[in-house]
Amino acid sequence: MATEVDPIAEQQDRPLPDERLKEMLGTLMLCRYFDERMEALYRQGRLPGAFYSGRGQEGTHVGAATALRSNDSLFPTHRDLSAQLTKGLDLERVMAQYWGRIDGYLRGRDGNSHIGDWYGNRTFAVMSHLPIAYPVACGAALAYKRAGDDRIALAICGDGSTSNGRWHEALNMSAVLQLPVVWVVNNNQFAYSAPNPVEFHTATIAEKAAAYGMPGVRVDGGEVLEVFDAVRGAVERARNGGGPSLIESVSLRWRGHAGHDPATYMAPELLEEYMTLHDPVKNFQEKLLSWGVVTKDDIDTRSEQIVANFEAAHAFALASPFPEAGDAFLGNWTDDGYWTREPGRGGGTDAS
């Protein structure tokens, strides 16, 4: 059965030191700004490839990733770049990936949010097929359990992905083996154009946890601390040998499935409601202001930093060369050493 978490945000005692709360707000603001600017560049035809906006879901992404240690592993989807940014990915290299440049985390081999940084921030390089990283997360968790250390794996996927067989296999396997893994479902209420009722027949996703004999929790993705608290609880449980948990974080996908999608299938009232009442960035900003953790000035300063960092990263990305054509044929087998040496930087093309 799904158990509603008592929103810690309402409590007087704060879940984290002020510095970390401030940091969390900064991350939320960064993710929001990055998302808005990248989408704008996409619409102007200045951003190649695809763009999947995670706007409105930053509470889920930042709340979940904040509950992880740097050596815990994260298995995200195309929608979860904000979670990867929270985990620590470098803005410059992220943007270099969008522009297909050699300094991108995947050296230009993949684009957009199909990104990852295993050795640096322990994030799995996103793959399209949904939710194909879920079974992989079981494996990382298995390794932690075997090693007897207290690391954990956290995987995110969307509401629509829960109807896929891989989702079931991974949850079931993690329960049978009692693996240290946390399953987060970013229920943004749509799978591309499909609303929840087209994807599953239960009122919530959290209640499905019972079918695996694991706890299931449903939280408000508009409240980052509510998400953080629930995920932290699940993470602690996993670290201490308590096995897997499922967390459903509910929000709304504010934008289309990807940059090209006007999402005319979404009811304007619904969007209106979420943008006004469940904006994770606005809500948290107001909370910290009311708590006196930050001042209006702090926020303005942080905003300026973010804009500056974005511009710098954008410039870096555009200045980064394309991969050399010959690189296309390297890096399949470990033996050719492509991934252990610095890549050539002589690529040149005006494509994109």
């Binding site: 695809a50 297909g100 199909h114 097929h129 799978a191 591309y192 154009s193 296309a328």
Partner: protein
Amino acid sequence: MTADPKVEVAAAGHGAEPRGKRGEDGQATYLIAIAEALWEEMERDERVYMLGEDIGAYGGAFKVTEGFMDRFGADRVMDTPIAEETIVGMAVGSAMEGLRPVAEFQYADFMTSGFDEITTVLSRYHYRAGVPLPVVLRGPSGGGVRASSFHSINPEPWFAYAGGLKIMCPAFPSDAKGLLKSAIRDDNPTMFLEHKWLYRRIKEQVSTDPDVTVPIGKAAVKREGTDLTIVTYGAMVHKALEAAETLEAKGVSAEVVDLRTVYPLDEETVLRSIEKTSRALVLYESYKFLGIGSEVAAIIAEQAFEHLDAPVMRLAPPNLPVPFSPSLEDAFLPQVADIEAAADRLAAW
């Protein structure tokens, strides 16, 4: 999900039937031709229905089924959960009970997510148990649109190996429309791969006669030539034709054979052309190792040996994930210049 926003935004008007989306000149793009085939077959036979992700209200990731739900209703234009194994399984089960399902995969890349139901159930059932399965699986395949590894694959060799599916990879709007209609009318399982690079790039006059079809399993000579034969299919047909022009200028006369159907393969048309030109360049976008061209080359080596004046030459991408960066993808896929160079070497052999 789409390769090029500019192109996607250019998706035709909402709710209109495909015919209405042809250009001023009455020409139909590859995409519109496919939509027309689906529309006409849905009109012709009410046992035909479509299922897939986002094909209903949304009209499909590439807008191929736009307007269909308004006309045919949600029962015949079914939106499904993200469950490819079960989409295929449902198609099979409903076909066993007399329906004629056309399942759309948002990208042909996701056919691997339904691989077992396709190759174990759909492909084998009639041979084992004698129940016809008139199922069509369709989806956008192929690269060249900067969509990277997970949105650019050419899966036809995987499914051809299974042996129980007829597989089409048309290069022209007319062939696409005629073959898709044949596929829907065929009592055997078929796979219809739509090269997404062609969707809106290629257009031509396409018959409006709902009964004009193109036979499955027949290749076509798209350009006559005498010095060598380029055997190819899909998007590469257009690169081959472009290269043939330049080669002509250089005095090399290249014949271009478009396989159109990759399984079963039209050996006769291929062999007849080789008998004429005595030189074969097999060009394909599926990976080089065990791509469709491997079989074509083997067939030529086996059955046209006496006619060959030079080795069978192959041009295809390596068996690697299709990379995103333009500099990488351009090096990865055979380009017109590569075809010319290969043809020159072959002609000079």
